[in-house]
Protein backbone atom coordinates (compact mmCIF):
# COMPACT_ATOMS: atom_id res chain seq x y z
CA UNK A 1 0.00 0.00 0.00
CA UNK A 2 1.87 2.99 -1.25
CA UNK A 3 0.48 6.39 -0.30
CA UNK A 4 1.46 7.79 -3.71
CA UNK A 5 0.36 6.84 -7.18
CA UNK A 6 3.24 8.50 -9.00
CA UNK A 7 4.69 6.47 -11.87
CA UNK A 8 7.91 6.95 -13.77
CA UNK A 9 8.20 6.30 -17.52
CA UNK A 10 8.69 2.64 -18.38
CA UNK A 11 6.96 1.41 -15.27
CA UNK A 12 3.36 1.51 -16.46
CA UNK A 13 2.95 -1.96 -17.98
CA UNK A 14 2.10 -4.78 -15.59
CA UNK A 15 2.83 -8.52 -15.82
CA UNK A 16 4.54 -11.01 -18.13
CA UNK A 17 7.66 -10.34 -20.16
CA UNK A 18 7.37 -6.62 -19.59
CA UNK A 19 7.52 -7.12 -15.82
CA UNK A 20 10.50 -9.44 -16.15
CA UNK A 21 12.39 -6.90 -18.27
CA UNK A 22 11.58 -4.21 -15.72
CA UNK A 23 12.78 -6.34 -12.83
CA UNK A 24 16.00 -7.33 -14.65
CA UNK A 25 16.80 -3.74 -15.59
CA UNK A 26 16.05 -2.35 -12.12
CA UNK A 27 18.20 -5.07 -10.56
CA UNK A 28 21.02 -4.34 -13.02
CA UNK A 29 20.98 -0.66 -12.05
CA UNK A 30 21.14 -1.46 -8.34
CA UNK A 31 23.96 -3.97 -8.83
CA UNK A 32 26.00 -1.60 -10.97
CA UNK A 33 25.50 1.26 -8.51
CA UNK A 34 26.85 -0.95 -5.76
CA UNK A 35 29.93 -1.85 -7.83
CA UNK A 36 31.01 0.85 -10.17
CA UNK A 37 31.75 4.51 -10.62
CA UNK A 38 29.06 6.78 -11.92
CA UNK A 39 30.69 6.94 -15.37
CA UNK A 40 30.05 3.25 -15.94
CA UNK A 41 26.31 3.65 -15.52
CA UNK A 42 25.29 3.94 -19.17
CA UNK A 43 22.34 2.36 -20.95
CA UNK A 44 24.48 -0.18 -22.90
CA UNK A 45 26.17 -1.28 -19.66
CA UNK A 46 22.82 -1.58 -17.85
CA UNK A 47 21.23 -3.46 -20.78
CA UNK A 48 24.15 -5.88 -20.92
CA UNK A 49 23.88 -6.58 -17.19
CA UNK A 50 20.10 -7.02 -17.43
CA UNK A 51 20.42 -9.32 -20.46
CA UNK A 52 18.16 -7.21 -22.67
CA UNK A 53 18.79 -5.13 -25.79
CA UNK A 54 19.87 -1.52 -25.39
CA UNK A 55 17.03 -0.47 -27.71
CA UNK A 56 14.53 -2.00 -25.26
CA UNK A 57 15.91 0.16 -22.46
CA UNK A 58 16.09 3.31 -24.60
CA UNK A 59 12.53 2.80 -25.87
CA UNK A 60 11.14 2.20 -22.42
CA UNK A 61 13.05 4.66 -20.21
CA UNK A 62 14.71 7.06 -22.66
CA UNK A 63 17.73 7.93 -20.54
CA UNK A 64 19.74 6.86 -17.53
CA UNK A 65 18.15 9.76 -15.66
CA UNK A 66 14.59 8.55 -16.28
CA UNK A 67 15.58 4.99 -15.43
CA UNK A 68 17.23 6.03 -12.16
CA UNK A 69 14.11 8.00 -11.27
CA UNK A 70 12.01 4.87 -11.91
CA UNK A 71 14.29 2.73 -9.75
CA UNK A 72 14.26 5.36 -7.01
CA UNK A 73 10.46 5.67 -7.02
CA UNK A 74 10.22 1.90 -6.82
CA UNK A 75 12.78 1.67 -4.00
CA UNK A 76 11.53 4.62 -1.97
CA UNK A 77 7.79 3.85 -2.28
CA UNK A 78 5.80 1.81 0.14
CA UNK A 79 8.73 0.19 1.92
CA UNK A 80 8.07 2.16 5.10
CA UNK A 81 4.78 1.48 6.86
CA UNK A 82 3.20 4.66 8.26
CA UNK A 83 3.55 4.27 12.05
CA UNK A 84 0.33 4.30 14.12
CA UNK A 85 1.35 4.31 17.79
CA UNK A 86 -1.59 6.34 19.12
CA UNK A 87 0.30 9.63 19.61
CA UNK A 88 1.86 12.04 17.15
CA UNK A 89 5.14 12.02 19.08
CA UNK A 90 5.29 8.24 19.01
CA UNK A 91 4.43 8.16 15.30
CA UNK A 92 7.04 10.76 14.36
CA UNK A 93 9.75 9.17 16.52
CA UNK A 94 9.15 5.78 14.92
CA UNK A 95 9.07 7.32 11.45
CA UNK A 96 12.25 9.39 11.94
CA UNK A 97 14.03 6.29 13.28
CA UNK A 98 12.93 4.31 10.21
CA UNK A 99 14.15 7.06 7.86
CA UNK A 100 17.52 7.31 9.66
CA UNK A 101 17.98 3.55 9.48
CA UNK A 102 17.10 3.50 5.80
CA UNK A 103 19.47 6.37 4.95
CA UNK A 104 22.33 4.61 6.79
CA UNK A 105 22.07 1.70 4.32
CA UNK A 106 24.93 2.13 1.79
CA UNK A 107 22.81 0.74 -1.07
CA UNK A 108 20.07 3.26 -0.33
CA UNK A 109 22.48 6.18 -0.18
CA UNK A 110 24.22 5.05 -3.40
CA UNK A 111 20.87 5.01 -5.23
CA UNK A 112 19.94 8.35 -3.71
CA UNK A 113 23.20 10.02 -4.76
CA UNK A 114 22.93 8.61 -8.29
CA UNK A 115 19.33 9.85 -8.54
CA UNK A 116 20.37 13.32 -7.41
CA UNK A 117 23.21 13.27 -9.94
CA UNK A 118 20.87 12.26 -12.75
CA UNK A 119 18.23 14.89 -11.89
CA UNK A 120 20.31 17.83 -13.00
CA UNK A 121 17.36 19.68 -14.50
CA UNK A 122 15.37 19.66 -11.28
CA UNK A 123 15.23 18.43 -7.73
CA UNK A 124 15.46 14.74 -6.91
CA UNK A 125 11.98 14.76 -5.36
CA UNK A 126 11.37 11.10 -6.27
CA UNK A 127 13.60 10.37 -3.25
CA UNK A 128 11.25 12.10 -0.81
CA UNK A 129 7.76 12.21 -2.33
CA UNK A 130 6.68 9.14 -0.40
CA UNK A 131 8.14 10.33 2.90
CA UNK A 132 6.17 13.54 2.49
CA UNK A 133 2.95 11.59 1.87
CA UNK A 134 3.56 9.46 4.98
CA UNK A 135 4.16 12.59 7.01
CA UNK A 136 0.98 14.23 5.75
CA UNK A 137 -0.97 11.09 6.75
CA UNK A 138 0.40 11.17 10.32
CA UNK A 139 -0.27 14.88 10.74
CA UNK A 140 -3.81 14.53 9.34
CA UNK A 141 -4.50 11.75 11.84
CA UNK A 142 -3.39 14.05 14.68
CA UNK A 143 -5.74 16.78 13.43
CA UNK A 144 -8.61 14.24 13.42
CA UNK A 145 -7.76 13.39 17.05
CA UNK A 146 -8.25 17.09 17.85
CA UNK A 147 -4.55 17.91 18.09
CA UNK A 148 -2.77 20.89 16.55
CA UNK A 149 0.19 19.38 14.72
CA UNK A 150 2.99 21.35 13.05
CA UNK A 151 2.74 21.76 9.28
CA UNK A 152 4.19 19.29 6.79
CA UNK A 153 6.74 21.97 5.81
CA UNK A 154 7.91 22.44 9.40
CA UNK A 155 8.52 18.73 9.91
CA UNK A 156 10.19 18.46 6.51
CA UNK A 157 12.51 21.38 7.31
CA UNK A 158 13.54 20.27 10.80
CA UNK A 159 13.34 16.47 10.61
CA UNK A 160 13.84 15.40 6.98
CA UNK A 161 16.16 18.38 6.36
CA UNK A 162 18.84 17.36 8.89
CA UNK A 163 18.41 13.64 8.09
CA UNK A 164 18.93 14.06 4.34
CA UNK A 165 21.56 16.78 4.72
CA UNK A 166 23.71 14.52 6.87
CA UNK A 167 23.22 11.50 4.60
CA UNK A 168 23.99 13.46 1.44
CA UNK A 169 26.63 15.98 2.45
CA UNK A 170 28.39 14.84 5.63
CA UNK A 171 30.39 11.86 6.86
CA UNK A 172 28.17 11.48 9.96
CA UNK A 173 24.83 9.92 8.97
CA UNK A 174 22.16 10.26 11.64
CA UNK A 175 21.46 7.52 14.16
CA UNK A 176 18.04 6.67 15.65
CA UNK A 177 18.65 8.45 18.99
CA UNK A 178 19.57 11.67 17.21
CA UNK A 179 16.59 11.31 14.84
CA UNK A 180 14.27 11.22 17.88
CA UNK A 181 15.77 14.47 19.22
CA UNK A 182 14.81 16.12 15.92
CA UNK A 183 11.18 15.21 16.64
CA UNK A 184 11.38 16.70 20.13
CA UNK A 185 12.70 19.87 18.55
CA UNK A 186 9.73 20.26 16.19
CA UNK A 187 6.89 19.36 18.59
Amino acid sequence: MSPTSQKAPGDARPGGRSARVRAAVHRAVEELLAESTVEALTIPVIADRAGVHSTTVYRRWGSVGELLAAVAINRFSGDLVVPDTGTLRGDLEQWATDVATDLADPDVSALMRATVGASKNGPADVCVVDRRAQLAAMLARETERGGRPPSVEQVEDFVLGPLYYRATYTAQPGDPAWARTLVTHVL
Copy 2:
Protein backbone atom coordinates in the same frame (compact mmCIF):
# COMPACT_ATOMS: atom_id res chain seq x y z
CA MET B 1 40.94 34.04 1.71
CA SER B 2 39.48 30.60 1.94
CA PRO B 3 38.97 29.20 5.41
CA THR B 4 39.89 25.70 4.21
CA SER B 5 43.12 24.40 2.73
CA GLN B 6 41.60 21.24 1.20
CA LYS B 7 42.87 20.40 -2.29
CA ALA B 8 41.46 17.99 -4.80
CA PRO B 9 43.68 15.90 -7.08
CA GLY B 10 44.88 17.77 -10.14
CA ASP B 11 44.63 21.16 -8.53
CA ALA B 12 48.01 21.30 -6.83
CA ARG B 13 50.21 22.86 -9.55
CA PRO B 14 50.16 26.64 -9.81
CA GLY B 15 50.81 28.90 -12.81
CA GLY B 16 51.60 28.63 -16.51
CA ARG B 17 50.31 25.98 -18.87
CA SER B 18 49.17 23.83 -15.97
CA ALA B 19 46.92 26.61 -14.71
CA ARG B 20 45.52 27.20 -18.21
CA VAL B 21 44.69 23.50 -18.60
CA ARG B 22 43.03 23.53 -15.21
CA ALA B 23 40.97 26.60 -16.06
CA ALA B 24 39.96 25.21 -19.46
CA VAL B 25 38.93 21.85 -18.00
CA HIS B 26 36.99 23.38 -15.10
CA ARG B 27 35.19 25.71 -17.49
CA ALA B 28 34.37 22.80 -19.82
CA VAL B 29 32.79 20.88 -16.94
CA GLU B 30 30.65 23.83 -15.91
CA GLU B 31 29.53 24.51 -19.50
CA LEU B 32 28.67 20.87 -20.12
CA LEU B 33 26.76 20.63 -16.85
CA ALA B 34 24.70 23.62 -17.88
CA GLU B 35 23.90 22.04 -21.26
CA SER B 36 23.77 18.31 -21.15
CA THR B 37 22.47 15.27 -19.39
CA VAL B 38 24.63 13.55 -16.83
CA GLU B 39 25.42 10.69 -19.25
CA ALA B 40 27.27 13.06 -21.57
CA LEU B 41 29.71 14.12 -18.88
CA THR B 42 32.60 11.78 -19.71
CA ILE B 43 36.31 12.53 -19.75
CA PRO B 44 36.59 12.44 -23.59
CA VAL B 45 33.67 14.88 -23.89
CA ILE B 46 35.17 17.20 -21.24
CA ALA B 47 38.66 17.02 -22.83
CA ASP B 48 37.24 17.83 -26.25
CA ARG B 49 35.39 20.84 -24.90
CA ALA B 50 38.48 22.03 -23.00
CA GLY B 51 40.71 21.57 -26.06
CA VAL B 52 43.14 19.22 -24.29
CA HIS B 53 43.99 15.53 -24.69
CA SER B 54 41.93 12.98 -22.78
CA THR B 55 45.14 11.50 -21.41
CA THR B 56 45.95 14.87 -19.79
CA VAL B 57 42.65 14.83 -17.97
CA TYR B 58 42.92 11.16 -16.96
CA ARG B 59 46.49 11.66 -15.69
CA ARG B 60 45.60 14.74 -13.69
CA TRP B 61 42.17 13.97 -12.26
CA GLY B 62 41.76 10.22 -12.78
CA SER B 63 37.97 10.17 -13.09
CA VAL B 64 34.94 12.36 -13.67
CA GLY B 65 34.18 11.99 -9.97
CA GLU B 66 37.57 13.41 -8.89
CA LEU B 67 37.28 16.19 -11.45
CA LEU B 68 33.80 17.18 -10.31
CA ALA B 69 35.04 17.23 -6.71
CA ALA B 70 37.85 19.58 -7.79
CA VAL B 71 35.43 21.88 -9.62
CA ALA B 72 33.07 21.85 -6.65
CA ILE B 73 35.83 22.68 -4.15
CA ASN B 74 36.93 25.51 -6.39
CA ARG B 75 33.40 26.82 -6.83
CA PHE B 76 32.26 26.44 -3.23
CA SER B 77 35.42 27.80 -1.59
CA GLY B 78 36.00 31.37 -0.64
CA ASP B 79 33.18 32.87 -2.68
CA LEU B 80 31.19 33.79 0.42
CA VAL B 81 32.75 36.33 2.78
CA VAL B 82 32.18 35.48 6.46
CA PRO B 83 29.73 38.14 7.69
CA ASP B 84 30.84 40.35 10.59
CA THR B 85 27.85 42.48 11.59
CA GLY B 86 28.64 42.76 15.30
CA THR B 87 26.04 40.25 16.52
CA LEU B 88 25.70 36.52 16.08
CA ARG B 89 22.09 36.89 14.92
CA GLY B 90 23.11 39.47 12.32
CA ASP B 91 26.00 37.31 11.12
CA LEU B 92 23.92 34.15 10.83
CA GLU B 93 21.03 35.93 9.11
CA GLN B 94 23.40 37.41 6.51
CA TRP B 95 25.13 34.09 6.04
CA ALA B 96 21.89 32.07 5.70
CA THR B 97 20.62 34.63 3.17
CA ASP B 98 23.87 34.30 1.16
CA VAL B 99 23.64 30.50 1.19
CA ALA B 100 19.96 30.59 0.11
CA THR B 101 20.76 32.97 -2.73
CA ASP B 102 23.68 30.82 -3.87
CA LEU B 103 21.63 27.60 -3.79
CA ALA B 104 18.89 29.25 -5.87
CA ASP B 105 21.39 29.74 -8.74
CA PRO B 106 20.68 26.97 -11.31
CA ASP B 107 24.37 26.66 -12.21
CA VAL B 108 25.26 26.13 -8.56
CA SER B 109 22.57 23.52 -8.04
CA ALA B 110 23.56 21.71 -11.27
CA LEU B 111 27.17 21.46 -10.08
CA MET B 112 26.00 20.38 -6.63
CA ARG B 113 23.75 17.61 -7.98
CA ALA B 114 26.50 16.35 -10.32
CA THR B 115 28.98 16.32 -7.43
CA VAL B 116 26.56 14.35 -5.27
CA GLY B 117 25.99 11.93 -8.16
CA ALA B 118 29.72 11.44 -8.65
CA SER B 119 30.44 10.90 -4.93
CA LYS B 120 28.74 7.54 -4.74
CA ASN B 121 31.32 6.06 -2.39
CA GLY B 122 30.86 8.74 0.23
CA PRO B 123 29.16 11.98 1.08
CA ALA B 124 29.52 15.05 -1.12
CA ASP B 125 31.15 17.02 1.69
CA VAL B 126 33.17 19.14 -0.74
CA CYS B 127 29.88 21.03 -1.24
CA VAL B 128 29.66 22.07 2.42
CA VAL B 129 33.16 21.96 3.94
CA ASP B 130 33.64 25.69 3.43
CA ARG B 131 30.21 26.60 4.80
CA ARG B 132 31.03 24.63 7.93
CA ALA B 133 34.35 26.50 8.34
CA GLN B 134 32.58 29.86 7.95
CA LEU B 135 30.02 28.82 10.52
CA ALA B 136 32.70 27.72 12.99
CA ALA B 137 34.41 31.12 12.56
CA MET B 138 31.20 33.04 13.37
CA LEU B 139 30.41 30.89 16.40
CA ALA B 140 33.99 31.20 17.72
CA ARG B 141 33.75 34.99 17.41
CA GLU B 142 30.55 34.94 19.50
CA THR B 143 32.29 32.86 22.18
CA GLU B 144 35.14 35.42 22.26
CA ARG B 145 32.53 38.16 22.79
CA GLY B 146 31.39 36.23 25.85
CA GLY B 147 28.26 34.80 24.25
CA ARG B 148 27.04 31.22 24.45
CA PRO B 149 26.38 30.24 20.84
CA PRO B 150 24.78 26.98 19.69
CA SER B 151 27.15 24.28 18.42
CA VAL B 152 28.27 23.99 14.80
CA GLU B 153 26.24 20.76 14.59
CA GLN B 154 23.05 22.47 15.78
CA VAL B 155 23.30 25.23 13.19
CA GLU B 156 24.22 22.72 10.49
CA ASP B 157 21.20 20.56 11.35
CA PHE B 158 18.61 23.33 11.54
CA VAL B 159 19.93 25.92 9.08
CA LEU B 160 22.08 24.16 6.46
CA GLY B 161 19.90 21.02 6.74
CA PRO B 162 16.66 22.66 5.57
CA LEU B 163 18.48 24.86 3.01
CA TYR B 164 20.28 21.96 1.31
CA TYR B 165 17.33 19.57 1.68
CA ARG B 166 15.06 21.97 -0.18
CA ALA B 167 17.64 22.74 -2.86
CA THR B 168 18.44 19.08 -3.46
CA TYR B 169 15.17 17.25 -2.95
CA THR B 170 12.22 19.64 -3.35
CA ALA B 171 10.82 21.98 -5.98
CA GLN B 172 10.70 24.88 -3.52
CA PRO B 173 14.21 26.28 -2.94
CA GLY B 174 14.49 28.52 0.08
CA ASP B 175 14.23 32.29 -0.18
CA PRO B 176 16.10 34.81 2.02
CA ALA B 177 13.11 35.58 4.30
CA TRP B 178 12.62 31.91 5.05
CA ALA B 179 16.37 31.44 5.58
CA ARG B 180 16.26 34.14 8.28
CA THR B 181 13.43 32.32 10.10
CA LEU B 182 15.71 29.26 10.30
CA VAL B 183 18.22 31.37 12.23
CA THR B 184 15.52 32.58 14.65
CA HIS B 185 14.61 28.95 15.22
CA VAL B 186 18.16 27.94 16.24
CA LEU B 187 19.05 30.92 18.48
